[in-house]
Amino acid sequence: MAADKRFGYMEQARQALGLVATPFFWLADTPARVGNSLGEIFVSRTELLDENARLREELMLSRQRLLLAESLTVENNRLLALQDASALFEQEVLTAEIINVSPDPYTRRILINKGGRDGVFEGQAVLEANGLMGQVLQVMPFSSWVLLITDVNHVTPVEVSRNGERALARGGQDGDTELDLEFVIPTQDIEVGDTLISSGMGQVYPKNYPVAEVISVHRSPVQPYATIKARPMAQVGSTRHVMLVLAATVQDVPALADGTEGGADEESTLAAIESAN
């Protein structure tokens, strides 16, 4: 029975039960939804005006940055083309709402309100306004489970934005919300405050999205690897809206393009290759 799941025989039943479960998810989400809409009703006019002004300002700033970014993208693509490397282009996203959180405290998963009917597929990357959030784990007709990067069985291939040092970020034990960097040898240049971005290895996540910020580094002469902790940028607790990356992106690591699904195991092999080099 449980072994069936391992080999994927239960997929049909899971789809059917997922359909039955949809109203449950909707009902269980009601308190949060009612709370939200109450918050929207009981908001004063001045607050709204303030928020409006603030958002307008933010929009202007973002537009200005976007203009700059666009020209940089064009330039970057041209340079990459010169080097014969396939570049990262703009990505389409699908927005979704978080409707539930996994009741099991030891695994980090969220339920979103888009499913197979909306074109969600397994392994799809999920983003939040501040950074990378996770990947789609299980698709049901009207909803899907997303495995967060903070789950203990999830490994994110990352690199330091400052110097391109690569590492693997694994979710913390016992429902910890921080990430542990694995297989970092003490001589690698990673410091507190460094920003970790997705490296695009493993073919699951698009390149160059912010993932986490390094908060502690311990190097000990008796340990083969440094102990490094990082805090994820994406704030699961404070947001309800997430983005699903639609287009499968072209990566510039063709040598590693064999695996279609970048599970933890494949990524650790990648790491083994890396640390051997």
């Binding site: 029975m1 449980a2 069936d4 799941k5 391992r6 239960m10 039943a13 899971r14 039960l17 997922g18 039955v20 479960a21 449950f24 998810f25 009902l27 269980a28 989400d29 308190p31 949060a32 539930n100 959180v101 996994s102 009741p103 099991d104 405290p105 030891y106 695994t107 980090r108 998963r109 339920l111 784990l137 299980q138 489970w145 789950d151 203990v152 069985n153 034990q173 016992d174 429902g175 607790g237």
Partner: protein, 162 residues
């Protein structure tokens, strides 16, 4: 006959409410102490109406809970079947116990369910706790047992069933 329909729908309703309580989002600190509501309801019905709710029903409810929580298929099913079996074995004694003594037995039953699911999670290499905190829901379940007992029992009495 009409009474039996009402009774069966009451059983279904109780499982639906327990299922909702099992997935309703909770604050971060409370999530480790979420009582096993479905197990409590299973124990209640097995003690009081073993001819309606047995190991088979518990198993099917467990499959539903697995679908709701997105966990490995059979994890809750096996756990709740164990709960139903234990409650069936102990039910004649449990009926004579006071509610507080029942709660202590519930503590053990739910604890065994959690232990079984911990073993299965280890067997299938699923994320799990590395300390004894995984048993915390057994304690809260025992604390909430009197509430379940009074609530479901009260509903049955107010509907004048049986």
């Amino acid at each position: 006959m009409a009474g039996s329909v009402v009774f069966n729908s009451l059983i279904v309703m109780s499982f639906i409410i327990a299922g909702l309580l099992a997935i309703v989002p909770m604050p971060e600190w409370a999530i480790y102490f979420r009582p096993e509501w479905v197990a409590l309801v299973v124990v209640y019905w097995v003690i009081n109406n073993p001819e309606r709710v047995g190991i088979g029903i518990a198993w099917m409810v467990g499959i539903m809970v697995d679908a709701l929580t997105g966990s490995l298929f059979g994890l809750h099913a096996l756990g709740l079947a164990l709960v139903a079996w234990l409650a069936l074995r102990l039910r004649l004694r449990l009926r004579l116990f006071s509610v507080s003594r029942q709660a202590s037995v519930v503590l053990v039953i739910v604890g065994l369910q959690l232990l079984l699911s911990q073993w299965l999670q280890f067997l299938f290499d699923l994320p799990r706790g590395t300390n004894m905190m995984f048993l915390a829901p057994a304690v809260t379940s025992a604390l909430f047992w009197p509430l379940v007992w009074l609530l479901v029992g009260g509903t049955i009495r107010s509907l004048d069933l049986k």
